[in-house]
Symmetry: C2
Subunit: 340 residues, 2 copies
C-alpha cells in the first residue's frame, strides 16, 4: 500500500530522543468547553475538619454548579503540514496524558504529530483529569479505580489474567511485547478514575470541542471509539478523517451512512488471537466496520502485524515503537490528502 | 525600586494577544512524580452497570494501588534566560490550568514566563487534575466542590459575601476589578475538587518534584503558600528564590532560619482592606514574614497598589493586567540575579 511506503520514509524524522531538534510553535494554550449548569438543593451543611483539633469548616453544598465541561490543550506548530487540526481522544480510565511523554520518558504521539506539523488538540474528557468531576449526585454511581496489575493483564502487555505479579521476576510479559516496562508504574500513575455512566455527557463534551475547533481529523483510542464515531455522526460535515485505535465502542449502525464521506482507519495491534478477551472486542469492531462498509463508508482496517509491526498491545501510543506506528498513521493521512 | 523599573521596561514584549510571535521550544512534555503504594483488602466485589439493562461489570476493588503522585508538565524554551527552572504551584481547588490561557482566552503566566526564557514546570498537585485521585479510604473525608458564585465572593472579584448573583445585572463586582468577567464561567470550569486532609501528601509530592527538577525558583499561589515555604524548608539548598502570591499557608516558624539564603517575595493585590476575610489572611502572612525576617531571611512584601497596580483580586494571574504583574515578578527575579 502506498501509505505504508510513505510511512516508512517518514520514520526517521521525529523519533530520535537523544538529540531532539527544537520545535517552533505559533501558539500553545488551553480552554474548557461544553458542560451545563446544575443545581443542588436541600442538602445539609457539612462540617469539614481542616486540621486535627482545629475549628470545623462549614461547607454549604447547595447552589449552582457548572458541570460536565471538558479540558482541551493545544499546540500549534509554526510550520503547518496537517490540512486540518488533529484532535486526540484518550481511552477509558485515562486522560490526555496518554498521548504525552511516554511513561519511560520518550516522546509520545502528541509530540510526534506536533513536530510533523499538525495543530494538535489533546484533551481530558468530561470527568477525567483537568476536566474535573462534579459533586455527588450529578453522575450516577461511583468511579472505578485501577489496581497496579490490571492494565498489565487487560491491555496485552502481560499474558492475560493471572500474568501480573508485584515481583517483576514473576510477571509474565508477552514474549516480544513492546511495552516499556521500565515505565510501567508511571503508566499506572496516569490512570484516571472513571465513571461508567457518563458516556452521553462525554459525547456532548466532544461535540462541543468539534463545534469549537473543527473541521478536523480525529484520532481516538479504545473507549473513545464510540465517541469518534458517534461525534462524527453528529457532525459529519466537520470531520475529515477518523483514526480509531483498537476501538472498544462504536457508532450507531443504523446511521453508518452519515460517515460515507469520511475516510476511516481502524488499527489493531498484536497478540489478539492469543488473548481471552480481545478476539471478541475485535469481532465487535469488525461488525461495525462491515456496517460502515455496507453503508458506503471507506474503511481501512490496519492490523500492525500484517504490516510487519510486531509486539504491540492496547497501549501502542506509548510502546517502544510508538513512533513507527505514528508514522504509519501519518502515511495513511497523507494518502488521504490530509498532509500538506 | 530597581526591579520595578526593569519590570516596566519588560512590559511591552510578551503581552500582545493579537500578533503573537512564535515561540521555539527545545522540548516539552510531562511526567508523574512521587506517590506510594497502598493496598486495599477485605472489600466486597462491586457490581457496576455499564449500560441500562446490560450485564453488570464485576469490579474487585481489592489489590495494590499507586497513589499520591503528582503531574508535572514542562515547557523548555530554546533561548533560556531564567537562571534555573521555574516551578508554578497552583492554589487550592485549582490545578495547573490556573497558569495557562486565561479564562477569557489571553496568555497566562505559563506562556509569559516561557516566552521570557524560563524553563517552566507547571503541575497538578496530588489529588488534583491529571494527578488523579485514589480509591475511597486513602484520603480521609470527602472532597469539596465549588459553587458558581463562591470564588466571585471569596477571591475579591465581587464585594464579598452576598455580592454574587446568577443574573449578571445583579452582581456586585468590585469597582475597578481587573477580573475578566467575560471568562468567569470558564474560570469556574477550571475548579478542581479538593480534599482538606491531604496537605502532607501534597507536600511530599512537591518535594519529589524538587528532587527531580531543582535547583529552581518556585512561584506558589494561595494554598501553595504553605507548600512553597515548607518544601523550601525541607530542601533549602535546592531553592534559589520563592515567590508567594497571596499565600494562605506558611512555613514552620521555628525553622524560618532554614530559608536565610533564599530571597522571598510575597505579593498582595488590591481591595484587601475593604474585604471581611482578607485582612486576617494578610495579617497571618505578615506574622510569617516577620518570623522570617527575625531569622535573617530577606523578604520583599510587594503590595501591588503601592506600586501603582490597581484592581487585582486573588486570581491576579488571570486578570486583565496579568502580564503587568508577571513583568513585575520578572523584574524582582532579575534584581536577584536570576535572569540571564
Amino acid at each position: 500500500m502506498r501509505w505504508l511506503v510513505l510511512a516508512l520514509a517518514l520514520l526517521a524524522a521525529p523519533a530520535c530522543a537523544q538529540e531532539r531538534p527544537s520545535v517552533t510553535l505559533r501558539d500553545f494554550g488551553s480552554f474548557h468547553v461544553g458542560g451545563r449548569s446544575a443545581t443542588i438543593s436541600g442538602e445539609p451543611v457539612k462540617e469539614l475538619m481542616l486540621t486535627p483539633g482545629g475549628a470545623p469548616l462549614k461547607i454549604d453544598p447547595n447552589g449552582t454548579y457548572l458541570v460536565e465541561s471538558m479540558y482541551v490543550q493545544y499546540f500549534l506548530p509554526a510550520e503547518r503540514h496537517g490540512a486540518y487540526p488533529l484532535l486526540l481522544w484518550h481511552g477509558g480510565g485515562l486522560s490526555g496524558v496518554e498521548f504525552e511523554t511516554t511513561p519511560d520518558g520518550r516522546p509520545g504521539w502528541l509530540d510526534w504529530f506536533v513536530r510533523a506539523g499538525w495543530d494538535v488538540y489533546n484533551s481530558d474528557a468530561v470527568e477525567r483529569g483537568r476536566a474535573g468531576f462534579p459533586p455527588p449526585g450529578i453522575f450516577k454511581g461511583e468511579p472505578m479505580f485501577v489496581t497496579r496489575g490490571r492494565p498489565f493483564e487487560q491491555f496485552r502487555i502481560g499474558a492475560g489474567a493471572g500474568s501480573w505479579n508485584d515481583d517483576p521476576a514473576l510477571r509474565r510479559q508477552l514474549p516480544g511485547s513492546q511495552f516499556p516496562m521500565a515505565g510501567y508504574d508511571n503508566f499506572i500513575r496516569e490512570q484516571s478514575p472513571r465513571w461508567v455512566t457518563t458516556d452521553e455527557a462525554i459525547l456532548r463534551g466532544y461535540i462541543a470541542e468539534i463545534d469549537r475547533v473543527c473541521p478536523c481529523v480525529i484520532l481516538g483510542h479504545s473507549q473513545a471509539g464510540q465517541f469518534v464515531f458517534r461525534a462524527a455522526q453528529a457532525r459529519p460535515d466537520k470531520v475529515k478523517a477518523l483514526v480509531a485505535v483498537e476501538p472498544s465502542g462504536f457508532g450507531v449502525p443504523a446511521q453508518a451512512a452519515l460517515l460515507k464521506d469520511i475516510p476511516v482507519a481502524v488499527i489493531y495491534g498484536d497478540f489478539i488471537d492469543q488473548d481471552a478477551r480481545w478476539p471478541a472486542i475485535r469481532a465487535n469492531g469488525m461488525k461495525w466496520v462491515e456496517a460502515m462498509r455496507a453503508a458506503g463508508v471507506k474503511v481501512d482496517v490496519i492490523s500492525l502485524p500484517e504490516h510487519g509491526i510486531h509486539g504491540n498491545g492496547h497501549m501502542m501510543m506509548m510502546e517502544k515503537n510508538n513512533a513507527e506506528i505514528a508514522a504509519l498513521i501519518q502515511g495513511w493521512l497523507k494518502d488521504k490528502g490530509l498532509v500538506k
